[in-house]
């Protein structure tokens, strides 16, 4: 790592450092890195704390030794088998939601352009409902239904909003409309179903990380890892779209293909989360905006948003499990409450401007 010649230094108004390794190079924003480091540390602490707490509390040092592979058979069972999948999933799925929110908000250039507002969540719920009610689905079938529902909804929104290319604002308006129709369809499905099936569907629909074991966690983790890499690759061209289509094309970006690729990656991220844990609202909406207030960079940063999403969902899941003694809430209920608080805060912050 070498610093650049200070006599010929570009002053961007932000503290940056340039990383150079052979021919590879990258400009890094120090404030963003600090924010990311704090969020990552917070996420790690949350992971350890949530693995430690529960009906059988385990001292933090024992948790750490167990995680490092030095545990007893008892702590191994509780920490590694029972609690770790859920805690890890909270972080990874939260990260996926944050990244997906960042992608859509960047694509639509609008803080409301998140997958839960533009209907992909609701569509995934519809897909899952159809499977639960018609086929009485297993976990895999429900996950498949959710995935299909999310993708089909995205396709419909994309097709309806497409007119001589794709415009972000059209996508939001069409998405909200499609989302509203799907929400009524979902209600109708639940009303028509038998009571027990309807209950099961409603529980799934609240969004929960309960009952996740390694068998469900591993496929989701692998998919999220692959999508994460694709999202990072796509971000290099994707962030050019923030300049407007004409300027982005003039700078050598194939705007329509980049936008399509980014949409597919963003939808796949959301759909994976919904398939694994049900529709979890507000994380994708809030994470990119919250972290932006901390990093104060322009645009929506993918990695900071993902880390913020991870911290938000992990914290929400801990609250859902342990905040009210004896009562376990679905994590979706907590994130929705957080989302309400976020909107109030946003309104106050905007009103003060």
């Amino acid at each position: 790592m070498t610093a650049t010649d200070t006599s010929l230094r570009l002053h961007t108004g932000r503290r940056t450092t340039v990383l150079r390794l052979g021919r590879a190079s990258m400009r890094l924003d120090l404030r963003s890195i600090a924010v990311c480091a704090v969020l990552a540390a917070f996420g790690l602490v949350l992971l350890i704390v949530s693995v430690a707490t529960g009906d059988f509390p385990i001292p933090i040092p024992d948790v750490v030794t167990t995680l490092l592979g030095q545990g007893t058979s008892k702590t191994n069972l509780i920490v590694l088998e029972w609690r770790l999948p859920r805690a890890l999933m909270a972080l990874v799925l939260g990260g996926a939601l944050g990244a997906s929110g960042a992608i859509f908000q960047s694509l639509t250039r609008n803080p409301l352009g998140s997958p839960d507002i533009i209907g992909f969540n609701t569509g995934a719920y519809s897909g899952a409902l159809v499977v639960i009610i018609l086929f009485g689905g297993s976990y895999v079938a429900v996950a498949g239904g959710a995935l299909a529902g999310g993708l089909v909804t995205a396709l419909v929104v994309y097709a309806l909003a497409f007119k001589r290319g794709m415009q972000g604002f059209r996508m939001i308006i069409v998405g909200i409309a499609v989302s509203a129709m799907l929400a009524s369809f979902n209600t109708w499905m639940i009303l028509r179903a038998d009571l027990e099936v309807a209950m099961a569907a409603a529980v799934w629909g609240a969004g929960s990380l309960g009952g996740i074991s390694w068998a469900q966690a591993v496929p989701a983790l692998v998919i999220c890892a692959i999508l994460g890499v694709l999202a990072l690759l796509g971000d290099f061209s994707g962030k050019q779209l923030e300049l407007g289509d004409d300027a982005a094309s003039a700078l050598g970006t194939r705007t329509q293909s980049v936008r399509l690729a980014q949409t597919v990656i963003g939808v796949a991220l959301t759909a994976t989360v919904t398939a694994a844990a049900g529709p979890i609202g507000f994380v994708a909406l809030a994470a990119p905006q919250l972290v932006k207030r901390l990093t104060r960079v322009s645009g929506t940063g993918l990695i900071p948003a993902a880390l913020m999403g991870a911290a938000l969902l992990a914290a929400s899941d801990w609250v859902a499990q342990h905040a009210l003694p004896g009562i376990t809430l679905p994590v979706g209920a907590v994130t929705v409450s957080l989302g309400g608080a976020y909107f109030i805060w946003l309104l106050i912050a905007e009103a003060r401007k």
């Binding site: 108004g13 001589r164 700078l251």
Partner: protein, 288 residues
């Protein structure tokens, strides 16, 4: 500042030609042949051919909706012709990879959006995108060229300011700096002086001419103001109803008949005492 010229081979090419022939006689690099342009099913330009003179400032003028911006969009690859082809260096512009075009041809679009909260230096740095790769996002050369582009457009002092807090004139200079950082031998500008006051319009046009004279960059601009076009163009292209009516040096082609024909506006042409170019004085109905 000569380092702002394109990569060495192209630069040598430009120098060789410069030695051999005056700017206007060099082989044109950007050519449209028989292009038909339009949106959806509405044809705006039909069967138009044009060659952009190399190393010169070309200005396209014409009344509203005559197809001048449409032509510029086609020349910059933003619009694919329904029929005909646009050639860049002898090859169809659509046959190149997108980034390759962006290394040869820059465009200042009519509407650009600065991501909110972006600083001047960061925005100008975006102009380096066609020269960067995912693992190579900020070379020492990138930094040097961005600084040079900002010096050439006199925005270095603004470098850490937020783009949204600049005046219209400053902002437009920043966008030009971004296009310069792209280091393209060709630069197209779509109505770059719209929304600027008269002093900033002149300032921007002077800047374009300076850049053309010092870097040999070929420029093509769409302008509304005929007098500005006459002053700053080496080559003027007058369009009407999607066709080229006249083209050439302003002193040769701009006549009262041409202006009346193209803009449907009776006028008097006098000699601009400062630039020795045609100056159009509209007659209007009130003074006839």
């Amino acid at each position: 500042m000569d380092t702002l010229l394109p990569e060495a081979p192209v630069r040598d090419l430009v120098d060789d030609f410069a030695a051999a022939a005056p700017a206007s006689e060099r082989e044109p690099r950007l050519v449209a042949r028989g292009v038909t342009l339009g949106y959806d099913n509405r044809v705006v330009v039909e069967d138009l051919s044009v060659e952009i003179p190399e190393g010169a400032v070309t200005v396209i003028v014409g009344p509203n909706a005559c197809g001048k911006s449409t032509l510029l969009r086609a020349l910059s690859r933003l619009l694919k012709p329904g029929r005909g082809q646009v050639f860049l260096d002898g090859r169809s512009i659509h046959a190149y990879p997108a980034k390759e075009v962006a290394r040869r041809l820059g465009l200042l679009p009519q509407t650009s959006i600065a991501p909110d909260g972006i600083t001047v230096a960061d925005l100008v740095a975006r102009g380096r995108h066609p020269h960067q790769r995912i693992w190579q996002q900020w070379s020492a050369e990138d930094e040097r060229i961005v600084l040079e582009a900002m010096a050439a457009t006199r925005v270095l002092d603004l470098s850490s300011r937020h783009v949204d807090e600049l005046s219209g004139g400053q902002r437009q200079r920043v966008w030009v700096a971004m296009a310069l950082a792209q280091q393209t031998p060709l630069l197209l500008l779509d109505e770059p002086t719209t929304y600027l006051d008269i002093a900033h319009q002149i300032d921007l046009l002077e800047l374009c001419r300076e850049l053309n004279r010092s870097h040999g960059q070929t420029m093509v601009a769409v302008l509304h103001d005929l007098n500005h076009a006459c002053r700053y163009a080496d080559h003027i292209i007058a369009m009407k109803d999607g066709a080229i009516v006249a083209q050439g040096a302003p002193n040769d082609v701009v006549t009262a008949e041409l202006v009346e024909d193209v803009f449907d506006m009776p006028c008097l042409i006098i000699n601009d005492p400062v630039s020795q170019t045609p100056l159009i004085v509209p007659k209007g109905r009130s003074w006839r």
